[in-house]
C-alpha cells in the first residue's frame, strides 16, 4: 500500500463524512399520476361555444366596422 493509496482513502472518507449519501429513491410512485394525465381528455369545446363562435364570425361579417371597436377595446 502506497502513500498515495492511503491519502486517497483518507480523502474519500473525509468527503463521505462531509457529503452524506443522497437518497435517490423516488418518494412516491409517479405512475398513477402519469396514468391520470394520459386518461385526462383533451380540451373539449361544447356545442354552444361553437355556436357562439359562429355567431361572432357571422356578426363580424355583417358588421365589419365593429372589428375596429373591438380591436381598440381588446
Amino acid at each position: 500500500m502506497t502513500t498515495d493509496d492511503h491519502e486517497e482513502r483518507e480523502l474519500g472518507t473525509a468527503l463521505r463524512k462531509a457529503f452524506p449519501a443522497v437518497d435517490t429513491e423516488l418518494r412516491r410512485d409517479l405512475w398513477p399520476e402519469f396514468r391520470r394525465r394520459l386518461e385526462k381528455p383533451a380540451i373539449r369545446v361544447p356545442w354552444y361555444d361553437w355556436a357562439l363562435a359562429a355567431v361572432v364570425i357571422v356578426s363580424v361579417a355583417i358588421f365589419p366596422k365593429l372589428v375596429l371597436w373591438f380591436a381598440y377595446q381588446l
Binding site: 380540451i43 369545446v45 361555444d49 357562439l52 363562435a53 355567431v55 361572432v56 356578426s59 363580424v60 358588421f63 366596422k65 365593429l66 375596429l68 371597436w69 373591438f70 380591436a71 381598440y72 377595446q73 381588446l74
Partner: protein
C-alpha cells in the same frame, strides 16, 4: 413556500391583450404612415396599451381570489369585463377626441362612422367574444401557470 399565485394570475391575464396590441399597433402604423392619415398614435395607443392589459391582469387576479370561495366559471367572469371596459373605453375616446357622438352615429378617428343600431348589437357580441377569450385563452394560460383548479 409562496408560489405567487396573484403574480402568475396577472401575467396570465396580460398575455392576450399584449399580443393583440402588437397587431393593433402594426395596423395603426400602416394606417398612419402608409396612407398618411393624420392620426395621433401616441394618444390613441394609451388605452389599448396601458389600460386594457392591466385590467385583464387585475381581473384575472380577482378571478383567482374569488375562485377560492365561489366556483365561478372563468368564461362568465370574463364576460362581465366588457360591461366595465366598454364604457371606460368610450369615455376615454371621447375625452381624447377620437370619438364624436353625432346625430347620425358614432364617428371614430374622424373616418369611420358606426350607426347607433350597431351599438345596440355590440354589447352582446362583446360579451360573447370576451367569454370565449377568457374561457379558452386565459383559462389555458391559468392551467399552464398552475393557478387553475
Amino acid at each position: 413556500m409562496n408560489q405567487h399565485p396573484y403574480l402568475r394570475a396577472y401575467m396570465a391575464g396580460i398575455v392576450f391583450p399584449t399580443v393583440l396590441l402588437l397587431i393593433w399597433l402594426t395596423l395603426f402604423c400602416i394606417y398612419r404612415y402608409a396612407f398618411l392619415m393624420p392620426l395621433p398614435i401616441e394618444r390613441a395607443i394609451i388605452f389599448p396599451m396601458a389600460v386594457v392589459p392591466n385590467v385583464f391582469g387585475l381581473w384575472n387576479i380577482l378571478f383567482i381570489k374569488l375562485h377560492q370561495h365561489w366556483r365561478l366559471p372563468i368564461g362568465l367572469h370574463g364576460a362581465v369585463l366588457p360591461l366595465l371596459l366598454g364604457p371606460v373605453g368610450v369615455a376615454f375616446m371621447s375625452a381624447m377626441g377620437f370619438l364624436e357622438i353625432t346625430g347620425r352615429g358614432l364617428i371614430y378617428f374622424g373616418a369611420f362612422r358606426i350607426p347607433y343600431w350597431y351599438v345596440a348589437v355590440a354589447p352582446f357580441i362583446a360579451l360573447t367574444v370576451y367569454y370565449l377569450i377568457w374561457k379558452y385563452i386565459v383559462g389555458f394560460l391559468n392551467r399552464v401557470l398552475g393557478i387553475a383548479d
